[in-house]
Amino acid sequence: MAVAKMSLAKALNESLRRALDTDPKVLIMGEDVGKLGGVFRITDGLQKDFGEERVIDTPLAESGIVGTAIGLALRGYRPVVEIQFDGFVFPAYDQIVTQLAKMHARALGKIKLPVVVRIPYGGGIGAVEHHSESPEALFAHVAGLKVVSPSNASDAYWMMQQAVQSDDPVIFFEPKRRYWDKGEVDTEAIPGALHAASVARTGTDLTLAAYGPMVKVCLEAAAAAQEEGKSIEVVDLRSMSPIDFDTVQASVEKTGRLVVVHEAPVFYGSGAEIAARITERCFYHLEAPVLRVGGYHAPYPPARLEEEYLPGLDRVLDAVDRSLAY
């Protein structure tokens, strides 16, 4: 059956299974990815079916995981490594930024680094410190990396296929609070390009741009605004590096207004990049300044406060109202 309804987590699992099945050079690596199937069970059952040589439990050392994956990639393998949680990627940040991102260029293109770094990210699940962060801008700032995040099961399935097939390193941010959301996945569909944004909902009065976990919030906000007679378009960016500005531009030229929504702190966040570029591209189409909704310039708060920190329906609608008031 080509079309099936499954959770985003299951879609990732099925996608990794297909990748392992298709290409014997694909490896899964990470802490607890074997028997346990990962703390979110994204790799559930894969070691059982593909063996310990393909699905590799690693020592608890993130720099080691990414550093050895680089070596395996140099040997011709295509490692997909799991960083257990967003806040744990920093011990590996050096290997990702100083080595993984630059090696292809340093070798004048003679070698390729097809490594996927999977990072469950973002808040909303009541977790402890270092388990709820959104560090995507730190990676998007680095040339040589692709940075993507699916918002739904179908994208999760197809973007993972594309990430594994990419000859460039891909930082694959998985919206952990959407792992259990179900959606239809057509495993025979022909997907759009990995970096292409998609219009998740059409509208004429204002554009909401978001990615990963915030797409659902934006769709809910658009539905709520509809009841008040406002027509909101939602663009799912899908990729934070590169960003498909053409799709955002086309939407803003139609609506004249843009609000960018993400969980990461607004300051120096991806919203700043989008606001700057879209202002440059669409200056004469804009009816209001590009507004941003996101986290504060504060460490991600304790779980009992995260509902205040995370952009929710009300904060998004407040920004919509402010934009429309210009």
Binding site: T68, L72, A105, R106, L108, G144
Partner: protein
Amino acid sequence: MTVESTAARKPRRSSKRTSAAKTPAKAPEGSAPELVQLLTPEGERVEHPDYSIDLTAEELRGLYRDMVLTRRFDAEATALQRQGELGLWASLLGQEAAQIGSGRALHDDDYVFPTYREHGVAWCRGVDPTNLLGMFRGVNHGGWDPNSNNFHLYTIVIGSQTLHATGYAMGVAKDGADSAVIAYFGDGASSQGDVAEAFTFSAVYNAPVVFFCQNNQWAISEPTERQTRVPLYQRAQGFGFPGVRVDGNDVLACLAVTRSALERARRGEGPTLVEAFTYRMGAHTTSDDPTKYRADEERAAWEAKDPILRLRAYLEKQGAADEAFFTALDEESEALGKRVREAVRAMPDPDRMAMFDHIYADGNPLVDEERAQFAAYQASFAEEGE
């Protein structure tokens, strides 16, 4: 217990090392052997129970030639930096035996992950020495194809490459290949977490990798005592694989010990740490001034252990090389210096558009956009000039 007394402790080694080596991922019993030496600073040949070596006169001359030419290349690069032709140079002066001995132990299908000072190892791999100068001249950040000589790019962030070597070695094992991998690093890098993680991963996965630490006593201005409280080779034991300290100024010992470690890796018996006990005679790089942090007497003491002089003394005693050999080698050295000098001066600056090349294998719309903007900006000057 002081460092000195640990280092001087008599090993309970004898034949244990050989038998222990047959069990993967298990450390040898007792402490590791003391400094392995096969050629004294005076050029006397000595035997070691675990590391015998028997080389023909031609092979000995070959090692000597490698060391002399490497030193000549290094001297030329240092001079080129002083003349403003290179932005920086990391000299290997004094470390020729460690690099040529280990480099000549490698098979063609072995893979090397260097730091940024392995000019002698590159020489052994057949990498054209002028290729090494591009990054120091500022025309590229590496610039050679690592797969053409199985010699990876130089790595500036110290210790990072030990993990790449380990991963590569894990791949070699997966492929069922009987080649080995060698990672070079220094005593300063031994303090990095990546090196400890590389030790962990290589031991856990029994990876066919040799960690070759050139302990040249100084990490810029920090002495080895600021990196470790135990002799570096002893670190290996805690990770579950053998460590051995070799006289890093003795090319025969470096060759024998590295050969043994590589063979062990090829047999599927896992990693080995080799600590080549040597000395960096010059500065860390040409930006550095070693007179500010170390005594002249120390350098003088190491000068007496010079790797080239001791092999020359042995060659002469053995009658393995005549005057014609040394004369011809002198001429070859000068020719190499001249070739390097001319090649560097002729090295073109990269095309300005090259900064947009090879950032992504699959291409990238942002890079394309910025490349086009930059090209248009540059073209605007050309139009103005007309």
